[in-house]
Amino acid sequence: MRKALTVLLIALVAISSVFANGASESSGRTEIYFLNFKPEIADVYTNVVKPAFEAAYPQYELKVVTAASNQYQSTLRSELAKSEPPVIFQVNGPVGIAENATTVAPLQDTDFYNLLADKGMALSLDGNVVAVPYAVEGYGIIYNDAIMRKYFALPDKAVDINSAEEINNFETLKAVVEDMTAHLDELGIQGVFAATSFMPGSEWRWTTHLVNPALQAEFTDLATTQAAATFDFTYSENFQKLFDLYLDNSIAPRGMVGSYGDGDSMSQFALGQVAMVQNGNWAAAQILGTAGNTVADDDIKFLPLYMDIEGEESKGINIGTENYLAFNKNASPEAIEGADVFLTWLYSSDEGKQIVTNDLMFITPFASFSSDEVPDDPLARQVNIWMNKEGVTSIPWVFNGIPSEQWKADFAQAMLEYINGRYTWDQVTATAQDAWAREASLTGR
């Protein structure tokens, strides 16, 4: 018995070592290692992009690894230290470039960079282009228009407007939402807003996205935000107004926010349990992919994040990007060349563009895409509508200028303490200000 076991073990070890060798030696092809940021489309990269690219360019082998949600920075850090580091990786903006200043390769001579329609969107470091955006995204309050129509058809509604599209400031939004909360049973929902998810790792919808309009109102643009040594949080009260509206009209009571992740919030929306949820167009896949999804494609629409900031009637949803690709200059020249071949193929060949629009569902900033080549998902169409809306300007993403991850963590925890009733809002504001000053000085602003 024991002998048999020993033989078996030795055999197993022998076999596994054969496989281990086989994997690294069998291919004479150049490996292109891409560290993917977006877990929600990880399957598309491995099941669609990889086979299609390798069929088109048999000399290359595409290796896609996806970091777990909220773990990209740490995964990237450890992967870069390995002997076969990723060639293509994502940076989330200027702060991400600063973190990887010794790694990013110049891109101005690549075909990939030259696909950009507006070259000004790329990010530079010391006179070199080092990061190219690949997807434009928009976020706001996603609402289910079927439920909204049901509400506006109520005989005893408390507002004068007749459709969700007429909501154009915080005051109206608040009136509608609070009146909807009073009519939950008639509307067949359990709350107006989906859970304000605060499970560890799910705080990003508030620490980056929700704070963006307040940051933008104070700093105007990304360059100013990124250079700011202090943050007054001038629009703290405005932030609180919308945040409280979320919390007070939510499906989840305040005490329960810690047990919900953002995935739970999206499911609540998809199942028709709530009418609104704050998220962006990347969440379309989550909504449409939920088993038992009750929301019709045409009913998924965006509202801007109204928080009673002056002039918000002419402000749209938040459109921008934190999705930049950079090349690793420490990778082999063949791999870097391969990376350029791969991305150029993906974003300019007919087959690649098909995949980008239909499977990856990106709205891209590249000239190779015509205006009708946008993803056929409802939220991407909505982003397009809001981008081109008459008399409305989009709010750019400036939250990439937040000095460090630590600021987001501290701000998130302060908000959680506020929800738990142990912090006043003033303490949350103070935390945001103090942490900003501290983190800004630590990063040398």
């Binding site: 790792g201 460090s404 991850e405 925890q413 501290r438 630590l442 990063t443």
Partner: protein
Amino acid sequence: MEKSLRRYFPLFALPALICFTIAFLIPMVWGFVLSFCEFTNITDAHFVGFRNYIRAFTVDNYFTQAFWFTLAFTVVTVITINILAFALALVLTKNVPGTNAFRTIFFMPNLIGGIVLGWIWQVVLNGVLANFQQTLLSDSKYGFWGLVILMNWQNVGYMMVIYIAAIQNIPTDMLEAAQIDGANGRTTLFRITIPSVMPSITICLFLTLTNGFKLYDQNLALTNGAPNHQTEMLALNIFNTFYSRTGFEGVGQAKAVMFTIIVAAIALVQLVATRSKEVES
């Protein structure tokens, strides 16, 4: 025999020594050096002196906060785990029916990994707290006691097995002699059983003490330090320091070195203290 043993000793010890050097000694020495450096990965480190150690305390107070939390947690779990494990071992060495089945069941939680356990208990505890409209993140005391419950559930079985082995090794003639001399259960427990299992108590205290200090995955999965870093333990704080800011890798490393020294010192003190109570059987 002696002679050939001595001759072949290096040969037989070599594989283990090489492994120990590569996987433990070199990283440890390197880690110590890195704690005095600023670096993003180990190839671009440069010396900055004690700055990392100063920054570990001056930038925020989370490290000291994590230390007191970890200390409180360790004290509580060392006491509860050992008392529970010893009590179970006592019961399961009496001839109760189904002893083996119970031993297996109590041991089983130890076979599940920490992250999985953390998630399981997060669901269970959040489910219970939901009755009061609360979650584990509502108050740090829930996180604290949640971790204590989790740790007990996981470790009691393991320590129990060690205690059972020790109790079974107590010579029966000693117990019989005590019985004949008219010692009651209490006297037998404190005068014979406990002194006889003292070596096991040393081991179990050591294991629970270091396990308590080193706890990471359960902490990460259960609360991830929330709310407001109040349930963040030392290991988690070190990890978070390493990744939360640009240029803070060295500070995380400095904290890790201090962590090692603290744990080693406390464990040594404990070993010396309990060893002195051991009796030669």
